[in-house]
Structures are given as C-alpha cells and as structure tokens.
C-alpha cells in the first residue's frame, strides 16, 4: 500500500569538526500524522529539526518536505513549514499582537489579513488579555503559545515543534498538549521532538527513538513497548510479613521487588500459565495478596533497555 509522506529524511549526516552529531538518520512522516523524535539531551534532535527547517546545513543525505528539497529549494520549504523552537522566537519588545501582525506580513499576508489572523490566533491561544502587552512581561507558557501561534500564521501544512514543553510547569504543559492535539486534529503533519517519554506516548502516532545521532528504534508506542518484551505482573501485599513470605515462596522468577511499597514484579510470557502458577504457590503458602495488576512495559522501560541509560527523574 502506497503511503504519502510529508517528510522524508534519508541517511542524514552532520558533523561539527570531528564531532559527528548525526550519523545517518532515516525517517519518514506520513501526511497528517504526528511523529515524535524521542531522545536524551544531545541525541541530535534539535540538529535534525534545524536541518529540516532550513536553518542549518548538513554534510550528506537528503531531506524533503512535501516534495521540496531543503538544500535546493529552501524558500519553498520555508513557505510550507512552521517552526517552534526551544527558545521562543518572538520579539521581546513588541507586543503579542505586533509580533503576529509583523510575522504575518513577512509571510506575505496583506495588512488586513494579517490583522484578522492575529486576532483569531490570539483568541485560539488564549492570549487576548495579554495581546497589547510587551512580550517581556509574558510567562514562559505564554511565550511558547505566542511562538506557536506565530508559526501557524500562514497555516503551514507541516509543523516542527522542538521540545515545545521543555521548561514549562505542569499546567502549561497540559495546555500545550491540548493545543498540539487540536493541531493534529486539523490535519497537519507534525514532527515533535521531546525527551519526555510520556509526551511522545500521549501525542504521537509514531515514535522514532534516537541516541548518539542514530535511530535506535521506531514504531508506534505500542510496538516499541512490545519490542521490549513481555508483560509485567505486579503483586502488592498488605504487610511486611506477607511480603517476606511471598518473596520466599515465589523464588527465582522475581524481576523486581520493592520492600517499601511491598510490591513484587514478575515478567510473564504465558499469562494463563504463569499467573496461575504464581497464584497457586502463594495460595499453598497461605500468603494473602492485597492487589495484583498486569501491565505492558512503559516507555521508560523501552528507553532504558534501548539506550542503556537511565532516564533522569521519575514521574
């Protein structure tokens, strides 16, 4: 089945001197879908986005956005993309409204269109009250929203979001997610970079995991999780005594245990057999289970087993 791709990147390489930042990145984003580029700091996410949005040159490979090659027709690419970077690319001294109108006109909108579009975007991004204040006075979340609004002025079909929620407080992050989901519903092709697994899981249709300038895994969140393997059975016990007894009776199958929370985790491959086996043993030993839960591996597990690096900070 032929799929239509809005973004294709083939064998992309980039180095700064001896430092090879991108080492042959391949990726493709189907039109109207959202791809998350997931990776730790320094993996090459921002470099990839900057190349795709014509801000940066590269050494080898091809990058094409809606059929336009970024190297040979950067202006065509610029007219169909919107970019929201890590630091808000707006004018600090101008007001929110002035920013939108100015950028709108730089996108070649007529004065009237730019003004009307600015009003509309201010409303959609909940910035009406702050519209005529200097951006200097905006909070981090407001700046990001304005920045994203600016990217959308000329309704570009392809959007790059480079770590759109990094540094935002939880409330602003949720608000941003909401906005991004609405963008997705409007049919845009979106490439999002993030170091938050949860964010990729929540928003994206597909995930590409990169580390050290290379793609190390790709697929849907579900596929990635199943790659890492089997389901986990988590048992919780009411008291320290029952927890100890359980540890003794289950024996070597234990994958992880937590004394403080009195939980034991087992990896199971055959759900029926493995679960009934464990239950039988515990019943024989007269150990009472407080609660049990079977769950798929989280993206955290995926990331850990793929990159070999622990993700800093747990939710």
């Amino acid at each position: 089945m032929a799929k239509s791709y809005a973004i294709t990147v083939k064998n992309l390489k980039k180095s700064y001197g001896k430092n090879q930042v991108l080492n042959g990145i391949n990726l493709a984003v189907e039109r109207g879908t959202m791809l998350a580029l997931l990776g730790p700091n320094g993996a090459g996410k921002t470099t990839t986005v900057r190349i795709m949005s014509t801000l940066l040159g590269y050494d080898a490979g091809t990058v094409s956005i809606e059929g336009h090659d970024v190297a040979t027709s950067p202006d065509d690419v610029r007219s169909i993309i919107g970019l929201t970077g890590q630091s808000a690319a707006v004018d600090e001294i101008l007001t929110g409204r002035e920013n939108l109108i100015m950028m709108g006109r730089l996108y070649r909108l007529t004065k009237e269109s730019a003004k009307a579009r600015a009003n509309e975007l201010l409303e959609q991004f909940d910035l009406v009250d702050a519209a005529d204040r200097s951006v200097k006075t905006y909070s981090g979340g407001m700046r990001r929203r304005l920045d994203l609004a600016v990217s959308l002025i000329a309704t570009p079909p392809v959007i790059f979001l480079d770590e759109p929620t990094t540094g935002l407080d939880p409330r602003s992050r949720i608000a941003m997610w909401d906005i991004i989901n609405r963008l997705k519903e409007s049919g845009k092709t979106i490439l999002l970079t993030t170091q938050y697994l949860e964010e990729a899981d929540q928003l994206a249709d597909n995930i590409v995991v990169i580390d050290g300038g290379k793609v190390i895994a790709e697929g849907t969140a579900k596929e990635l999780k199943s790659k890492v393997g089997k389901d986990r059975l988590e048992l919780t016990f009411a008291s320290a005594a029952t927890y100890k007894n359980a540890l003794d009776s289950i024996g070597k199958q234990i994958f992880d245990s937590n004394e403080e929370e009195k939980t034991i985790t087992l990896v199971i491959s055959d759900t029926n057999k493995d679960v009934s086996d464990v239950l039988n043993r515990l019943t024989k030993a007269k150990v009472k289970i407080e609660s049990m839960d079977i769950h798929k591996p989280t993206l955290d597990d995926v990331f850990l087993s793929l990159t070999g690096k622990a993700k800093k900070g747990k939710k």
């Binding site: 014509t54 890590q86 808000a88 690319a89 100015m102 006109r105 996108y107 070649r108 269109s113």
Partner: protein, 274 residues
Amino acid sequence: MNEKETQVELVFSKQPKFMQAITDSLLMIKRSSTHIIRNTDQLLGTFFQPIMFLVLFTAVFNAVGLALPKDISYLDFLMAGIIVQTVAFGSTTTSIAVANDLQRGIVDRFKSLPMSNVAVLNGHVISDVFRNGISTTVMLLTGLLFGFRPDASFSDWMLIIGILVLFTLAFSWLSAIMGVLAKSVEGVQWMSFLIVFPLTFASGAFAPTESLAEWIRPFAENQPITHVIEAVRGLMIGTPIDDHGWLAIVWSLGILVVSIPVATWLFKKKTIKV
C-alpha cells in the same frame, strides 16, 4: 481549529520580488524604530547626551576658542564637531541591535520566514538614521539657545543634512559588520568604543587639526571624520571647505560600497548555514 483551521480569508500579496524586499525592509524599520521608542533609557540618552556634551565641551575646552579667528566663537566652531561625534557614536547602536538579534531566538524566526534576510539589517540601519536625526535636532536647538549663530543658507542646510545622513548610513553599516562579528553584546560595545573614540577625538572636532600634536596630525587631517566635520562646519559657519566637501562624500560612499555587501554577506553566512 477543529474543522477549519482559520475563519479568516488569508489574502497573500502578489508583489514582485524586489517590492517584497522593500516591504520587508519597511516592516523591519518599523520594528527597530519601535524598539528605539520603547527603550526609554536609550531614548533619554538620545535627548540628553547631546545637551550634556554641548554644555560640557563648551565649558571645558573654552580656551581653545582663544586660538580661533576673532569672528568665530568656540561654540560656533564646536557645533559641527560635536554633531558628527554624536552621530558617529549613535551609529554604533546598530552593532548592538544586530548582535542582540543574533544572540536571541528571534533570528531563527527570521531565518525560517520566506523574507529577505537583509531587511533585518536595513531596519536597524535606517532606524539609526532616524534616531541620529533626533539627536542632531536636539543638539542644534540647544546650541541656538546657548548662542550658536550659523550663517548657512537653506541649500547649505540641505547639503549638511545630506552629508550627515550619508555619513550615518556609512557608519551604521560598518557597525552592522561589527554586530555580526561580535561574540557578545558587551563585546561589541567595547569594539565600537575602541574604534569610534579615537576617530572622533583625533580629528578636527574639538580643536583645529593644526593645533594637534605633531605625530597625530597626519592621521587627523586625512581621516574621514575630519572631512565630514570640516565640510559640515564650512557649510554652517563659512569656514573654508577646500577639499573636505567632496572627500567627505567620497569617503562615506566608499565605506557604504564596501560595508553593505560585506555586512550582508556575513549576516547571510551567519544566519543560513552554520
């Protein structure tokens, strides 16, 4: 956003490419001018620095006046020099503005827009001309208040304005180069100071070049700022202009011819491929 992204009918202007470049520049001039107006500290400086300079210099260098021909007061002599000095220092704000833009996220926005990149430089340079216009006017008015009596005709004034605008443009474009090359905003302030300070003092701004120390005289007599000062002074109070008039224009044009392409090339290089 759900069904239809925008209710606004987006009308794109269908200008030919060079007209678009002009529109871009006008938008950037508006932006830079807004910066100047909103930056109240800088604006105060624009108003009060000329007044302070004028009052201080006339008081401090009063003795220089004794060496001048009888019919010329020191204030009359000083006006041209101090105006050109203020304009020269004023032009360096372009470098600060350019360095500021390059060090902030906004430059990524401009780069990712289908706009003419040079418009950003145009905006800073032209708004600098406006600001220098304000400073010069304040200075002239203050001078008149203190007893400055020019004998320039209307056409002389037009020529003075022309020479000063040309000179501001030349120095602003030079300063744009420094702004692009600078590694930090603080750095560029120092660079500008180190270039403009000697140029304005080792000139005929505050004393006739004949009265300067022997070793510095050849430089002072032949550098562009002296030509601009002598041309403006001659037009204002009737001192001999000699070759200074056309030399002032040739120097300014020469600097422009070199600095515009260099600044543009450096800016493009810095903003497109890293």
